[in-house]
């Protein structure tokens, strides 16, 4: 076989792995409750694909081939590790479930079940997103550790612990019934949004992998919109992420400088993504069940309006933040609220909102100091402003934001 073919096969394997990973892990673990075994079996199947496909050609349905191979491995694994009587029903299920030909276009029920397992209330909330990133999107522990800024060894141990709990803790692979759904769904949405946030912050717009993660989060939200239609917050989350994603190209200047939202060139925004976001937000609004993601999407929608009207309706943004703070007043929202108040009613009022935030909580919270510096500078309190700028610069992690603040500090 020649090199071009080899390369094609390699690329096909990578593509199938990327597109089907979560679905295959979901399918394999729904019956065994053993996510780690499902992942091991799947990586073994991918390894055999690497040796077999270049030699025998890529199978007609690559996903089905991987599934069958992984299922054999997992049956062997279970035989080796479990008492036969206990595992017999599972083995039976795995043998019976033969590969349906239309697998790849199937309603992704198993994937949904896996999402609910990852964000299960019995699993530590800080592990919801890491689990989702690994089991549904196939990211390795080292990459996830980087995103969460903890050591790869620690992240690996925490992931293993969480999977053990899923396997032996009686956590059911199921879609919660209508009564439990809202609470359980919230946890899933939070975890998806956290994944998006990582993709967003990850050396914004420069790092291709960061963008991938944001795209994967959007993909998951689209899957949710299709599989649980009529859920207002799911639509809200998708709208929120699409609005942010629409601005990706505008967030850095051509020479890599940070451009704040209010100074971005709307011509660089993606109109099609904004339209899609608006469509989902409107559908959500008709359901008459407001929530945090819809409110946040609504705020982003007002910013997007600037592309048409040339101005920002700050008063409306202030109102939306007030509603958000009534739901849960997080540090981030309070700081963003202060910024909106400052734009609407003047720097003095904005500063008053910042002063009301718990001072212990903000000592290392960078956005607070950036907003504070901005207001103080506008009020002409130069020395206080430059001290607050120093604090914001010192706490910044992103080099482009650091440079932006240094320029503003003067």
């Amino acid at each position: 076989m020649n090199d071009i073919h080899q390369e094609d096969t390699q690329r096909t394997i990578e593509r199938v792995a990327r597109e089907s990973y979560g679905r295959l892990v979901a399918y394999l673990s729904v019956h065994t409750h053993d996510i780690a075994a499902a992942e091991d079996a799947l990586s073994e199947a991918l390894m055999s694909a690497l040796t077999n496909w270049p030699r025998d050609g890529v199978p007609q349905n690559p996903e089905a081939w991987l599934m069958t191979t992984a299922r054999h491995t997992i049956i062997d694994l279970i035989r080796h590790h479990r008492v036969v009587a206990e595992s017999e029903p599972t083995l039976q299920l795995l043998r019976e479930n033969t590969m349906e030909p239309g697998f790849s276009t199937q309603f992704p029920d198993d994937l949904l079940k896996l999402l609910f397992v990852c964000a299960h209330p019995a699993i530590d909330a800080t592990m919801h997103t890491p689990l989702m990133l690994q089991t549904v999107l196939g990211l390795d522990a080292a990459r996830i550790a980087g995103a969460f800024l903890i050591s790869p060894k620690t992240m690996g141990q925490r992931l293993v612990r969480a999977k053990t709990k899923i396997r032996s803790g009686g956590i059911q692979f199921e879609i919660p019934d209508r009564g439990d759904l809202p609470g359980r769904l919230d946890a899933v949405l939070e975890a998806i949004y956290a994944a998006f946030g990582i993709g967003w912050d990850d050396l914004v717009g420069v790092d291709q992998r960061g963008q991938d993660l944001a795209e994967e989060a959007i993909w998951l939200a689209r899957v949710l919109v299709q599989s649980i239609p009529g859920e207002a917050e799911v639509l809200g989350l998708l709208a929120l992420m699409l609005h942010c994603e629409a601005r990706r190209a505008a967030r850095r200047s051509h020479d890599g400088r940070y451009v704040p939202l209010s100074e971005q060139d709307p011509k660089l925004w993606s109109l099609s993504l904004i339209e899609e976001a608006e469509h989902h937000l409107a559908t959500a609004a008709k359901l008459g069940r407001p929530g945090r993601f819809q409110l946040e999407a609504a705020i982003q929608s007002i910013h997007a309006e600037r592309g048409r009207t040339g101005r920002i309706e700050w008063t409306a943004i202030v109102e939306f933040y007030e509603q958000l703070n009534r739901i849960t007043p997080t540090l981030g929202r309070q700081a963003a609220y202060a910024a909106a108040v400052g734009e609407t009613y003047g720097a003095e009022k904005g500063l008053a909102v910042l002063d009301a935030i718990d001072q212990d909580a903000v000592s290392t919270y960078q956005p607070y100091w950036a907003a504070r510096a901005h207001f103080l500078q506008r009020l002409g309190r130069t020395s206080q402003a430059s001290s607050a700028y120093d604090r914001a610069i010192g706490l910044a992690e992103d080099a482009a934001i650091r440079e932006f603040l240094i320029r503003k500090r003067g």
């Binding site: 290392t364 604090r391 610069i393 010192g394 992690e397 240094i406 500090r409």
Partner: protein
């Protein structure tokens, strides 16, 4: 517990030290130190001269060997250290990520070993 952030610079980053006091690059370092002090985690720090100024000594089979330059010939060299009082490795990672040195070179985190010091080892 105390952690040392060991800051590694590329040759280009060492060159930045020659910039004027008002240069934004140096401003970022000053702001970082200020944030550490304001957060109440700063214990101490120092900068090291460029690696060309280093001399390394070994004693092997009773013979003294002296070598010009640093212990290891790598592109990125130890440039300085900061000692911080922090509750956990997680918070040390957070402060290391904010360090201007992490954007270009690397920052290695090591817990201090007070027990080893008490028993008379190194430093």
């Amino acid at each position: 517990m105390q952690f040392a952030l060991l800051i590694y610079h590329s040759p280009e980053e060492f060159d930045m030290r020659k910039k004027d006091y008002g240069d934004p690059h140096l401003g970022a370092w000053r702001a970082y130190y200020k944030a550490l002090v304001d957060a109440g985690v700063y214990v101490g720090s120092d900068a090291l001269e460029v690696p060309e100024a280093a001399t390394t000594v070994r004693l092997r089979e009773g013979k003294r060997r002296v070598q010009d330059g640093p212990f290891a010939e790598t592109k990125e060299q130890l440039a300085g250290f900061i000692v911080l009082e922090l509750p956990s490795l997680d918070s040390a990672l957070e402060w290391a990520a904010r360090c201007p040195g992490a954007s270009r070179g690397a920052v290695e985190i090591r817990p201090l070993a007070p027990e080893a010091k008490r028993r008379g080892f190194t430093g």
